[in-house]
Amino acid sequence: MKLLIIEDEKQLVKSMAQFLRQEGYVCEIAYTASEANEKILLFDYDCILLDISLPDGNGLKILEKLREKNKADGVIMITAKNSLDDRVKGLNLGADDYLPKPFFMPELNARISAVVRRKRFDGNNKIAFQEITVDLLAKTVMVSDTEVELTRKEYDLLIFLLANKNRVVSKNAIAEHLSGDDAELLDKFDFIYSHMKNLKKKLTEAGCEDYIKTVYGLGYKLTT
């Protein structure tokens, strides 16, 4: 799967690319708007990560150009200015998602997976991991042939871990993903712990192997 990162901050690009390559994506990089324009004309990407403020132009212009050419590339806007205006403009221009800086890498990964899935499989939207199968449209989870009843938070948690499989996902990233701004109230992470405990219990009761490992105090890792 091919990604284009349009971002002028070299250090950020470096760690994003490193992270996404580990996830098995092919990453191309454009540091400026003109580089980006050239690349989007020549190639098709599964997902474009677009920083709105670039040294030589507004990222929204790139989005416009993309839509003029009728390109179907998925676009996630990334911006330091968390402004409602830009968000509305971007989404109206056909961006698929919007991620304000600073963000957690697992969050970025989950958003990319969601966009890519939506673009790739219309109608048949399923994730499978060993004996676990998730139907994203019906929002159902099956372990082998048994359906598992999950609460919304537990479901979100599972999808998040599945998008970041084989990686350590920190508690902070999970808390932010599950409860957004309310995460700042969670000081002891008991909240995540209780959801995680319930999720693991429900999965193992349905006959699933325990794939979710605790990594010291740091976080969790979904791995075989």
């Binding site: 901050e9 250090q11 950020l12 760690s15 994003m16 490193q18 992270f19 580990q22 330091a80 200015k81 968390n82 402004s83 409602l84 304000p100 800086k101 600073p102 963000f103 957690f104 890498m105 697992p106 938070k153 990686r167 350590v168 920190s170 508690k171 902070n172 990233a173 932010e176 409860s179 701004d181 309310d182 700042e184 109230l185 969670l186 000081d187 002891k188 008991d190 909240f191 209780s194 990594v215 010291y216 105090g217 740091l218 976080g219």
Partner: protein
């Protein structure tokens, strides 16, 4: 007291003193002049009469004629004398006027004359103006003068203060109403008065410079917050890379987690600072109809699971309330108030959220404040160590209430903190 009134008062006082002093002075001098004139005319009259009589010395029975004439004449008396008086003598007196039935003052000149070798005393009378009448007339004139002077000055003063000082008062009004954080400039009108033009120019200069500095500072805060987002992103992404390293030790993992928490605090702080400066810059000006009860219920239901962890119960009772405001701001306002209530509730406590009339009341059980309640809404003032608090939540609440003209109140009674917002 107004400046014009001060100068007017001194002017009036001076005029009054002047007029009062002028009454005796003019009275005295007028009388002096009249007396002098009267004396002169008396002397002339007497001399001419004496010379005139001398022309008739050839008459034999002049003596008898003079006696008859003396009886007939009214203001001249000529009588034989024994020669006691040798020189002119003036005298002032008064006599009864039977016609007007009152006393009249007069001036008389007595002069010794010799007619046909016999000494005579010639006395010429001249009626004087009544002193009392003179004073009365003078007083009336001066009183009218004072009246005209005072009323004239007052009228002039009023007209002046209205016209002449109008630009000054307009500038003053604008300065009183001036607020640095409102995007207004002071507009002055051109006058022909040098002082006012100077003042207006200086005031305009000063406020404009202050505004510029203020704007620059605002811009700086917003830019700084923006610029910080990217390095924080880099920091977080590098931490994530570190986490994936195989064979991470437990101590290493704990350090990474601490770093991540610090980074997140930084990110939140930054986000809140940015929010504050955005509210300052009036970037949330789009107002819409909001069902407050529904919004509050939605936000509370997200918080219930977290409150449950500390065994904090959340009670709510909402009367339907719909307001016209910016949705983002109202969401932030409610979220911050709810977060604050939950954060400062002791375990097993209770948070009560109510909407009554146009008022939202958020109360929670908790310990009495250690900080001064007046400082509560200041930036970066925290209760306790506030590890998880940015110290900006209530400052943002205050800012939103100020810019949207909502009333915000805090009170503490018998172990219950209460915040209320009047929409």
């Amino acid at each position: 007291m107004r400046l014009l009134q001060v100068s007017l008062r001194s002017m009036l006082l001076y005029a009054l003193v002047l007029v009062l002093v002028s009454i005796p002075v003019s009275l005295f001098s007028i009388r002096e002049i009249i007396n002098e004139e009267v004396d002169e005319s008396l002397a002339l009259h007497a001399d001419q009469f004496a010379r005139h009589i001398k022309n008739y010395e050839y008459l034999d029975d002049l003596d008898l004629d003079l006696r008859i004439w003396d009886q007939l004449s009214y203001d001249i008396v000529l009588e034989p004398s024994k020669g006691e008086l040798t020189d002119k003598q003036y005298k002032t007196g008064s006599m009864y006027d039977s016609l007007e039935q009152e006393m009249h003052p007069f001036r008389a000149l007595s002069l010794p004359v010799v007619i046909k070798g016999k000494p005579y005393l010639l006395t010429v009378y001249h009626s004087l103006v009544d002193n009392d009448e003179l004073i009365t007339a003078l007083l009336i004139v001066q009183a009218i003068l004072i009246l005209l002077l005072v009323s004239g000055l007052l009228l002039l003063n009023r007209a002046l203060s209205k016209k002449l000082w109008e630009p000054f008062y307009s500038t003053l009004e604008q300065l009183k109403a001036y607020e640095l954080d409102k995007n207004e400039t002071i507009s002055t009108q051109k006058t022909n008065i040098t002082e006012f033009d100077d003042l207006n120019k200086t005031v305009g200069h000063l406020t404009e410079r202050n505004r510029q500095v203020f704007l620059q500072q605002k811009e700086f805060i917003e830019n700084a917050s923006h610029e910080l987002q990217t390095p924080i992103s880099i920091f977080q992404s590098k931490l994530d890379n570190l986490m994936q390293i195989q064979g991470l030790t437990e101590a290493g993992a704990a350090t990474i987690l601490d770093l991540e928490e610090a980074a997140q605090r930084m990110a939140r702080l930054n986000k809140n600072l940015l929010l504050l400066s955005k509210i300052d810059n009036d970037q949330f000006n789009h107002a819409e109809e909001i069902d407050l009860s529904k919004l509050a219920e939605g936000l509370l239901s997200n918080l219930r699971p977290m409150a449950d962890l500390d065994v904090i119960s959340i009670e709510s009772s909402f009367a339907p309330l719909s307001i016209k405001a910016n949705l983002t701001l109202i969401e932030v306002l409610l979220t911050n108030l709810f977060h604050n209530a939950i954060r400062h509730t002791t375990p097993n406590g209770k948070v009560v959220v109510e909407i009554v009339d146009r008022k939202l009341i958020v109360s929670n059980t908790g310990n009495p404040l250690k900080m001064n309640p007046d400082k509560m809404f200041d930036r970066f003032s925290r209760e306790g160590n506030g590890e998880n608090s940015s110290g900006l939540g209530l400052a943002i609440v205050k800012k939103i209430c100020d810019t949207s003209s909502f009333g915000l109140d805090y009170s503490f009674h018998s172990g219950i903190h209460t915040f209320s917002v009047l929409f």
